[in-house]
């Protein structure tokens, strides 16, 4: 165990909150300060576009830990505060209240922010994002029966919001710039499948739709104007067009950034006393022999483990396969891995049964799998990705052969 020095964690999201809790689990006894921009202690974001938005989860169940946890474990949680500058020479952070906070070890877990559309009307009331609990409260209060919600962006957040919007009784239209949904993240057959499934649930889509302006009346949004001149009428808009890392203070302090703050396998930056974890980090992923930035809870947890292990002097966590999930209506989508360098896409099962999986292969290695209502394909797919073992493609494509036999 290293000295019980002061650990400062900037960012109290899933990554920062978990790092604080794990440091205590791992026996770290020094002071911990957890600095969060939001008024709430760390909470789970995924339900905000899923169970919570539909009213199936309350604030208590969202919280990572009960509020008293932090004081009981000698974690100084500072709400509604963020760091505005990092002085690596003096090992201090300047906070938004003007004070200076000294650290011995710093964990940057400042996450990412929703990208705004740089178009007229973006500041109208009713044009929303879905990133924080406050965003979700606003959305829930705005959307309901008799309301028409326009979702700009047909990615996973957009589709989850669409599904939840339908569950809340609103009319929903999704506007997507590309010619298909999930264009950046999923293969074409999955895009087609999701579009058809959402349409069956009453969602309408406009593809190849570039929003050029939000229209408004009395300061409130009334429609989205598209490049082709059409205006799509609506009472509310959710913009879900991606997120960008909150890495400014790191960059300004001279730390290396790429698509986020560059770290190693311990989640440590080139400055040995500074770590970066979660959505803000640009990190190595050995199974793909490359570095990239991920936006997922499993990634936030994994890097929180890496950093906490390094700080507490524990062995590094075992090798991982990145994964994520999405719930829409009665569909459970589980995704393992990323489709890097893929030369073949293989379908296992029949999409019309709402139970199938799409495997992305590089030669005979599985790079990633998207599994719809198919836990065995997801679970075994994860093991195949991690093990880098060749698979028999004909057997993989045959759903009558169990995944255990395929992998045997």
């Amino acid at each position: 165990m290293s000295d019980p020095a002061h650990v400062v964690i900037l960012g109290a999201g899933h990554a920062g909150g978990t790092a604080a809790a794990l440091l205590r689990q791992y026996g770290f006894e020094g002071p911990i300060t957890l600095v969060g921009e939001e008024p709430l202690p760390p909470y789970q974001r995924p339900p905000l576009s899923k169970a919570w938005l539909k009213g199936e989860a309350d604030a208590d169940s969202l919280a990572l830990k009960p509020v008293e946890f932090y004081a009981e474990h000698n974690i100084d949680f500072r709400a509604s505060t963020r760091a505005t500058a990092l002085n690596r020479g003096a090992k201090t952070d300047t906070l938004s209240d003007g004070s200076q906070l000294s650290y011995d070890t710093l964990i940057i877990a400042t996450g990412a922010h929703a990208i705004a559309l740089p178009i007229p009307g973006a500041d109208l009331e009713g044009v929303m994002f879905l990133r924080t609990a406050a965003d979700a409260e606003l959305l829930k209060a705005t959307v309901g029966p008799g309301k028409r919600l326009a979702v700009v962006g047909g990615g996973y957040i957009g589709l989850e919001v669409a599904a939840s919007g339908r569950a809340l009784g609103a009319e929903v239209v999704v506007l997507e710039r590309e010619s298909r949904l999930l264009a950046r993240v999923a293969c074409e057959s999955l895009s087609t499948y999701f579009k058809a499934y959402h349409e069956k649930q009453g969602v309408s889509f406009v593809l190849d739709a570039t929003a050029t302006a939000f229209e408004g009346k009395d300061g409130h949004v009334t429609g989205v104007t598209l490049e082709d001149g059409r205006t799509i009428a609506c009472d509310a808009v959710v913009v879900g067009v991606g997120a960008a890392p909150n890495d400014e203070i790191a960059r300004e302090s001279g730390l290396e950034t790429a698509r986020g703050i560059v770290v190693d396998l311990e989640a440590r930056t080139a400055d040995p006393s500074i770590f970066a974890i979660g959505d803000v980090a640009h990190r190595p992923m050995p199974i793909y022999d490359r570095m990239f930035r991920m936006e997922s809870v499993p990634n936030a947890l994994e890097q929180a483990k890496q950093a906490a292990s390094a700080i507490a002097g524990r062995p590094a966590p075992a090798g991982e396969v990145p994964w994520q999930w999405s719930d829409q209506y009665d569909l459970k989508l589980q995704i393992a891995g990323y489709a890097f360098d893929v030369d073949e896409i293989l379908l296992r099962g029949d999409p019309s049964t709402n139970k199938f999986a799409v495997f992305h292969l590089k030669g005979d290695l599985v790079q990633s799998v998207e599994a719809i209502n198919s836990p065995p394909e997801f679970m075994m797919g994860k093991q195949l990705i991690l093990g880098r073992r060749p698979v028999d493609k004909a057997r993989l494509a045959d759903p009558s052969i169990s995944m255990k036999e395929v992998a045997a």
């Binding site: 995924p46 169970a51 169940s61 499993p298 836990p375 679970m379």
Partner: protein
């Protein structure tokens, strides 16, 4: 409310009062009990909240859904009394429940 005993793989016991309506997983995670990771927060998407339910409690904790069964089937070190603790809801009937953790959740 139910008093639940969580036993880590190394034998360390944690006795926790868990409110009705929470899951056995939430009782552990919210109290920082090591050994239950629950990466997905209870969405039955990850199988990292695997526990062994003490024999005496298997009936009272109910049976697993098809989804849970299917996820567990591919978890490490699965036994007949394996459950995903995010799928067990706490009620007065579970007062005294004992669950043990596997060596690893991954």
């Amino acid at each position: 409310m139910a008093k639940i005993t969580y036993i880590e793989h190394d034998g360390t016991e944690h006795v926790i009062d868990v409110k009705n309506g929470l899951t056995v997983m939430e009782g552990a995670v919210k109290n920082n009990v090591p050994g239950i990771d629950a990466d997905c927060g209870g969405a039955c998407a990850c199988a990292t909240c695997h526990v062994y339910v003490d024999e005496a409690w298997r009936d009272k904790t109910g049976t697993s859904s098809a989804m849970e069964e299917s996820m567990l089937d591919f978890a490490e070190n699965v036994e007949p009394n394996s459950r995903l603790s995010c799928q067990i809801k706490v009620s007065d009937a579970l007062d005294g429940l004992v669950v043990r953790m596997p060596e690893s959740q991954h």
